[in-house]
Amino acid sequence: MVEITEAFKNEVLDVLAEICESDEVKDEPDIRLFEEGLMDSFATISLLVEVENRLNIKVPVSDFDRSQWATPNMIIERLAERK
């Protein structure tokens, strides 16, 4: 397990809320983003670009496997692993 600070968590959630155009991601961090229609391929790219610019974490497009990045909490974990 990697350690996840509160500040990091909030930073990622802010980015996510912006991309999904919804605060649902903050209220329900286990929501299935793709199944609920909050995210799609385009949002995925926006997320990867924002994460690279703001958090300085680079994730290659083909490394983004939807089943591993399905919820806000999972996204936070995946990003923390790559920090």
Binding site: E21, G37, D40, S41, F42, T44, I45, S46, L48, V49, P60, V61, S62, D63
Partner: protein, 389 residues
Amino acid sequence: MISFIPYASFRFFIVTGILLLPVIIAGLSGKRITLYNDLVAIVMVFLIFYGQPAQFVSIIAFIIWQAVVVKSYFELKKRNNRSVYFYTAVILAIIPLFFVKLSADVPVLGFLGFLGISYVSFRSVEVIMDLRDGLINEIPLNHFLRFTLFFPTISSGPIDRYRRFESDLKQVPSGKEYKELLYLGINKIFQGFLYKYIIAYLVHQYWMSSPALASNSFFSIWMYMYAYSMYLFFDFAGYSQFAIGFSYIMGIRTPENFNKPFLSRNIKDFWNRWHMSLSFWFRDFIYMRFVYLMIKKKWIKDRYLISDIGLALNFLVMGFWHGFLLQYIIYGIYHAVAFISFNRFEHFNKKHHIWPKNNKWIHALSVLITFHVICFSFLIFSGRLNFLW
């Protein structure tokens, strides 16, 4: 000459079943005899193509070509990850396929083709993409060949991904795990028989080919649309079940291709359920790459425009890939328009909520509308409307 096209004859199932017996026995005791599996792979490629010596020569030349392109790119990239190397490698990997598809208009190019050239090309391009991103750091020739020439999926997919495939290669299932895989595999093969050789056959024989649907009246074409859509699904889903089933017996968990596509609630949902391994390949390597490049380089500012161009590109390439014929290109444009329109609508609905999400009647209506949008696209695809243009 005796045909040995995968899953097309009783002979294929019998011969392959016998060849796989040692694989099954080893698997049940938690072992894998790699040498034997490789031997089966070689024998299968030989059996599939020996009936057509021209294709046999093509596939050998083609695979050498792909191996040289991938290996050279790998070496160059180690020295310098320049974009120009990457794009050159992708173009070189795709060129044979391009010529073969062009042969629909220029028949003289047809000599390059062999059964499954598309699927082998897709696998090769995926490897180049992963090398570019640094997701693959070494690519032993034997792994590359096992991946690209994996016989259960060689003719029409599903399209696996190298890293996923390789992890199955490295991890031999325990006897217990293999028993489960074998059971699932055989189950899938029998589902394949039901789909392809019973349902699709009956639909084709008694509905699609019915003399009542032969005229060009509105009603005939309307009924033909349903018949063809059902036929297309059961025939291809059945084929995919065979391919996945035989993969499982080989200890490889080839990904699924269909997930109840006719129950999709919108066109976006449909492309996550229909011929998934292909649509995901297009999504990951065309649409997403394009969008990433545009956003990153800030070449286009308007986000909707980026997405629309990406989708148009995605589906146009898909259309052309089916063959350089008008019906396929119109099919591609049709899906691009449907997808872009739906995106606009979804965006509008996010603000105005005119189409509620959690209502079962609305859901049923969405499924019904989507079903017809899809079936109409298959009608275009089938060529039944070719008399119009």
